[in-house]
Point group: C2
């Protein structure tokens, strides 16, 4: 089968062995894959990654149990042991023995075929276009905020960053009933969140100070955390949604003096994300900038790294 391969900052498309059968795992033909910032980070050496990337996908089950055969599915990316105390508490996304699709110890979705445990799969509900279903994974990560932090409906929430994740966070929180103010630097991107009811705020260097009980940093920049802390009211909560590599300098004094809570937030459950997509509450169509056949993955990765580009899809159909 054809597979995208990342190795030493280079993207290639190679022939790779077809995944073998494995108890409890389904074999899935990839239909669409989405290139995520994490994939770009893997390309640049994060986790010392070398192999087949890809963790945002929608596919068709080629072999597996009856309930999934021939169905279009998306899949949760943490492949956990299902037996440890984390898994038993429903927090398999923190299983210490986990592999992670296309990131840690399990080949990713940017290939003609992939495998995942059937317990990770979700059938794509009727009415969600397949190119939209590929957003289930990042939208689940956005919805994870609501699993961790009880944001009362009608709360004003500041979201920093109008990139892919910021746009999904803004729309997911707005759909939850929050009043989102999305701060970004691109009028066209802000407009996507505005369609979902959020208020877009074209930001300069000055941001409102001590103005929100809840702030989400989705800037992906080392300055985002300090900016988020400054935007939060005393006793407020800042949700860290974007990984920045290496040490970020933070002045802990305002965090302590204003008793700010910082919450790290990562992967989420697919259920709420698929519900939002099925209900048309999140506008993902406008976030798709381009799509490339799998064999043109190097061009797709280049496109995904261009300034201002949102989601780039790979397709295999």
């Amino acid at each position: 089968m054809l597979a995208v391969y990342l190795d030493r900052k280079k993207v290639s498309v190679r022939s790779a062995p077809k995944p073998g059968p494995r108890q409890g795992f389904a074999l899935i033909r990839m239909l669409y894959g989405g290139i995520c910032n994490t994939d770009l980070e893997l390309l640049h050496g994060y986790y010392g990654f070398r192999g087949i990337p890809g963790h945002e996908f929608v596919g068709e089950v080629l072999s597996g149990s009856k309930q999934f055969m021939g169905r279009k599915v998306v899949g949760e990316i943490n492949i956990n042991c299902s037996r440890c105390s984390w898994c038993r508490r429903g927090l398999g996304r923190h299983c210490p023995y986990r592999a992670v699709l296309g990131i840690v110890k399990h080949p990713g979705a940017f290939a003609e075929l992939l495998t995942l445990p059937e317990r990770n799969l979700h059938v794509v509900p009727e009415g969600i276009p397949l190119s939209h279903a590929v957003f289930a994974e990042p939208l689940a990560a956005a919805c994870e905020i609501l699993e961790q932090v009880a944001i009362p409906p009608a709360s004003q929430v500041g979201v920093l960053g109008d990139g892919k994740l910021g746009l999904l966070v803004a729309q997911a929180l707005q759909a939850h009933g929050a009043r989102v103010h999305l701060f970004g630097r691109h009028r066209a991107k802000l407009r996507i969140a505005e369609k979902a009811g959020a208020v877009g705020e074209l930001r300069g260097s000055k941001l409102p100070a001590a103005a929100y009980d809840y702030v989400v940093d989705a800037t992906g920049s080392p300055e985002g955390l300090a900016q988020g802390v400054a935007m939060a009211r005393p006793r407020g909560t800042v949700i860290l949604k974007s990984t920045v590599h290496g040490a970020v300098p933070i002045d802990t004094a305002p965090v302590i003096v204003n008793e700010i809570t910082l919450v790290g937030s990562r992967c989420g459950l697919f259920g709420p994300a698929l519900e939002l997509l099925a209900a048309g509450r999140v506008h993902v169509a406008d976030m798709i900038c381009d799509s490339f056949p799998l064999r043109e993955a190097p061009a797709a990765f280049r496109r995904a790294q261009e300034k201002g580009v949102l989601k780039v899809l790979l397709c295999n159909n």
Copy 2:
């Protein structure tokens, strides 16, 4: 009256004008004052401070309303407006218009006389020695953790740092019903927390990894935060109890990947602290290393800065 004065890294004792009468404020004769790390930071230029420091005290009310006249009191340090939305929500410690005793815009307690709003005062309960009551303020700061974070009884809690604040935090959380492991570098200090039932752990450079749902950083060192994050389990909470000045480098990746919550924590309410002192649940006597008359404040400040020294008191009686 005599007053301690901090100015450009120098401690002096000067004659200062007696505080004038002010509506709602009591005039208080200082009996004991406690030197806190914040006072040492003020000495070294924090907040650009210049003036009379001191915010840990016990005193006798010389003039005020009938309920306080002649009584021994301690006092909460945030002098708030009592009218803004923060004050109305019972969070006057975050009032944006506040002054802070001996820190911001209000002369401190290291003087023969001080003033505070009567609404800040608490009569020292019977049976608490006055030299112990001076711990009400830092113990309230330790108890603040329990106002912010719901720590279930019998939870194992890791506390980093066996300095003054770490010892009070360890004892307060242990009294609350948590099972505290206090990590420090001084056998004798750990023993103080052990008397209160905590487990003292003489630490080397290696600390247990991913071992606690709750960790308190009371190290006062820039490394404490990263160490606390590494000690916390996924979805765990790290409470930031010690201010470090300037930027602290933090790798946000483990915070995000493990979905750690960081909670900044500052001043607390005096009620719970006085209850703990009255019940003898916190061993503060062993934490008093020395005491000096007010006029010997320069020597007291020198002593308080010696390595390994815990609380140094000033007395005015």
